[in-house]
């Protein structure tokens, strides 16, 4: 049930005319009356068993002597008339003989046959032995032919033809067999008809060469080196010979970034062993056809598309700009000799994703061409999509209808996919180098395994080693074709362009914020008080990006204070200051007379933070806070 079999009527009709585009006009089948007439004229009524009788009659009557018959039934009429005359005469004779007046019919005496028993036995014996010998020779011949068939199944033309028929579309046109390797039944609308010719190959190579040089169409003969015993020869049009593939290169300043090649060879079931050489020839020809159609489509789209930087089509090459200085080059490579193809296909590595996508995109176009939804209820018109059928009764608005008419071309889609691939790689690179460079808070990125060709997702966790439970800054990045969308933990959405620096800056800011927030939660654990904190400190020297963040902490009994300033540039430098109260250097002066003012705290002194023990910023801060707390109690 699952296998769809196409049935086509055999083309028994005579071809009347072949148009320039290859369509064949057939002569219509003759109508019943026409064919009957044709048959009637062919019957020779005079060749019946009553031949002699008629001849005698004809000799006597000069009826047939007048001019050749004008209408097809003339001879039939004449013969019928003759027959009628004969029957009339016969009936006259019979009626006369019944009267027994003028004519009497007497039975003729026949001699009784002699009964000779021995002769009969011999005669029967002889007849039986003759019959037996006929049967025996027949059996012998059958056996011989059976053995012969068993011995050379592979070279049998008809069995090969059967196998060919199982894998390819064939049809009989007058005396020849024409095959079809186009993708037309799958929905392709490519102009090339992709036909090949099937002939019986001669056993002798020399004679075959002679015979194949005669036909007018250019044909490919199977190379004699790989010519085992195949009874079938397939002739493929010259433009489909050889090996073709589509090469996709992403190029940056003349340096290749990645390459992809489409080559359908090796796709599908491996049926080459059991089937003959023709299988390989046809597969490669079909591959050439597919690549040609794909390139043709891409080139047409490249010219039609109105891109800000126009796409360039030169010869067998299409150039499209992905990003500034980064180009996508799609080229069609078609070689007719087998050895050069092999060398060129091995020297570059494949990007299976782009290769697969291009392949898939054209298949999708084919599918859309061939697959139309059926109307429900069944009386509806064929053609409009399901969405369009719903648009009227469900009152679709302008916008929805406009969306329906939009469709992306293959080129647009492949450019988007290439851009996405590039963006993904770039994002990966930025994240990886940052994770390598920034040691203190660790940057962990999780790439989603499931992604679409133009969208992937990465989750970034920023944690400090040993303090994972204290605080974790999470960030989600959607990598699209030209942009990045970053979603912070608080739900803030930031859109970034394709420039890698933007992402880098964003991550650095996130690290900065992570340090401060985790410091605050650490301080809470140690019972320190947060006096103030700011993510965007407006004072201090101008930072290259954003503002420094800062916070002010005070010890549990309030006698010590720590001020932290974190810069958000690449160095992620932290400056830490401490102050002590009551201040030691408080002297009563007339302006500030009371003793209580000594609790205000003194001048902040900078700590040489890099000298503090600890692997990370948080560890150092914990050490610092712990030491300051213990000393006061």
């Amino acid at each position: 049930m699952s296998v769809n079999i196409s049935i086509e009527t055999p083309n028994e009709n005579q071809i009347q005319e072949i148009a320039f585009d290859g369509t064949e006009t057939y002569q219509p089948l003759p109508t019943l009356s026409e064919s009957l007439t044709k048959c009637a004229t062919r019957i020779d009524f005079s060749k019946s068993s009553l031949d002699d009788l008629k001849k005698e009659d004809k000799d006597g009557s000069p009826v047939d002597q007048f001019q050749p018959s004008l209408w097809p039934w003339d001879s039939v009429r004449n013969k019928l008339r003759d027959a009628l005359t004969e029957v009339c005469v016969l009936s006259d004779v019979l009626s006369i003989s019944r009267e027994k007046k003028y004519l009497v019919l007497d039975p003729i005496q026949q001699e009784p046959p002699e009964n000779k028993a021995m002769v009969q036995v011999y005669a029967r014996k002889k007849a039986l032995s003759q019959a037996a010998s006929v049967l025996l020779t027949g059996a012998e011949r059958l056996k011989a032919s059976h053995v012969e068939q068993k011995n050379k199944t592979s070279s049998n033309f008809h069995i090969e033809l059967l196998r060919l028929r199982q894998n390819w579309r064939l049809k009989k046109v007058s005396n020849g067999i024409i095959g079809d390797l186009s993708y037309r039944t799958a929905g392709s609308k490519f102009w090339h008809n992709g036909t090949f010719e099937v002939t019986k190959s001669e056993d002798d190579v020399e004679t075959e060469e002679d015979s194949s040089s005669a036909p007018s169409t250019p044909t490919s003969t199977i190379p004699p080196t790989i010519k085992p015993t195949s009874a079938i020869k397939v002739n493929v049009p010259s433009e489909l010979q050889g090996v073709a593939y589509i090469k996709v290169i992403t190029q940056k300043d003349q340096g290749d970034l990645c390459t992809a090649k489409i080559n359908l060879m090796g796709y599908g079931r491996n049926i080459a062993q059991q089937s003959g050489v023709w299988q390989r020839v046809l597969e490669s020809a079909q591959n050439v056809l597919f690549c040609k159609e794909l390139f043709n489509q891409l080139a047409r789209e490249a010219i039609q598309l109105q891109a800000p930087i126009p796409h360039v089509v030169i010869g067998n090459q299409i150039r499209a700009n992905l990003f500034p200085q980064i180009q996508l080059i799609i080229s069609l490579v078609h070689t007719t000799s087998t050895d050069t193809a092999q060398t060129s296909s091995s020297n570059q590595d494949n990007d299976s994703v782009l290769e697969h996508s291009l392949h898939q995109l054209l298949r999708e176009v084919h599918h859309k061409n061939s697959d139309h939804p059926f109307p429900q209820p069944a009386s509806g018109p064929l053609g409009p999509s399901k969405k369009r059928m719903l648009a009227g009764p469900l009152a679709a608005d302008r916008f929805e209808l406009l969306e329906m008419t939009k469709s992306e071309t293959i080129l647009e889609q492949i450019i988007a996919q290439a851009q996405h691939t590039f963006m993904r790689k770039r994002t990966q690179y930025v994240l990886d180098t940052l994770a390598k460079d920034v040691r203190d808070p660790q940057i962990v990125s999780h790439w989603n395994a499931m992604n679409s060709p133009t969208m992937s997702c990465v989750k970034i966790n920023i944690v400090t080693h040993g303090y994972e439970t204290m605080h974790r800054t999470a960030l989600l990045i959607h990598v699209k074709d030209r942009t990045l969308k970053c979603i912070g933990r608080d739900g803030r959405v930031m859109h970034l362009s394709y420039e890698p620096q933007e992402l880098r800056d964003l991550i650095l800011c996130q690290i900065n914020q992570h340090q401060i927030t985790s410091l605050l939660s650490l301080a809470k654990c140690l019972a320190w008080q947060v006096l103030s904190n700011s993510n965007h400190l407006g004072i201090g020297s101008v930072e290259p990006l954003g503002n420094a963040s800062a916070c002010l902490l005070s010890s549990p009994n309030g006698d010590r204070m720590i001020a932290v300033q974190l810069r958000s540039d690449t160095s992620l430098e932290a400056r830490v200051f401490i102050a002590k109260s009551p201040r030691q250097d408080f002297f009563q002066i007339p302006l500030v007379p009371e003793k209580i003012w000594e609790n205000l705290g003194g001048h902040f002194r900078e700590v040489r933070f890099d000298k503090i023990e600890g692997k990370s910023f948080l560890m150092k801060m914990e050490y610092l806070m712990a030491s300051l707390t213990s000393s006061s109690s």
Partner: protein, 213 residues
């Protein structure tokens, strides 16, 4: 201000440009249930491949007529809905069939198909339409290029699945804009390939009606 043409203008424009498919080319025939499987297999082979296999349908059709006081011929309307899927109702006007002479391969009739909401039945009955008859039509549809082929069983309404006859209705139809008569030949050629299982012909209902009673 007048940036948007009114819908009426668009419609007349569409009519003039002949882009509205309002002509139905039709051939009909029937096949006995016992032989219908052969036809099904043949259609499956001949028609365009569809991944999901032959499309099943199960529709309910109502035939309504609007009788004008001063006109002899009532206006016939059909409302059809799918019992299988949630799709819009279909309101259909079918004009008088034209047979033409013997050279014309198919029957041609004007047809207006309008998808609409489920309120259509109430709308039409309130407008003065009378329900003449109704039936269920259940079967398969196939597609070959522009041609649609349906083979369906006609079932009575309200009596379970009681069939109207021991045979199935086979229809070959194309909906096309006015003036595309070439499609008729294409249909004729396809109908030829279904012979002798089913004989698809131009069927004249009026003649059927006159011989039966």
């Amino acid at each position: 201000m007048s940036g948007i043409p009114s819908t009426q203008d668009l419609l007349t424009q569409a009519c003039n440009n002949k882009i509205i498919p309002n002509q139905e080319y039709l051939l009909q025939g029937s096949i006995l249930d016992s032989a219908s499987d052969h036809l099904f297999q043949r259609l499956k082979g001949l028609c365009d491949n569809v991944e999901s296999g032959p499309q099943l349908f199960n529709d309910h059709e109502l035939c309504l007529s609007l009788r004008a006081p001063n006109q002899a011929q009532p206006l016939m309307l059909r409302v059809r809905r799918s019992l299988e899927v949630d799709a819009p109702y279909q309101l259909r006007y079918i004009g008088q069939p034209e047979f033409g002479d013997r050279t014309r391969p198919t029957l041609v009739r004007s047809s207006i198909d309008v998808g609409c909401t489920a309120t259509v039945i109430e709308f039409l009955t309130e407008l003065g339409c009378k329900i003449d008859y109704e039936y269920f039509s259940k079967g398969y549809m196939f597609r070959k290029g522009r041609m649609k082929i349906t083979m369906s069983k006609i079932l009575k309404v309200g009596k379970g699945d009681e069939a109207l006859s021991q045979s199935q209705l086979v229809e070959l139809s194309v909906l096309a804009p006015t003036g595309q008569d070439a499609i008729g030949e294409e249909m004729k050629a396809f109908a030829e390939q279904l012979k002798p299982l089913v004989q698809l012909e131009k069927i004249d209902y009026k003649r059927l009606g006159s011989t039966l009673p």
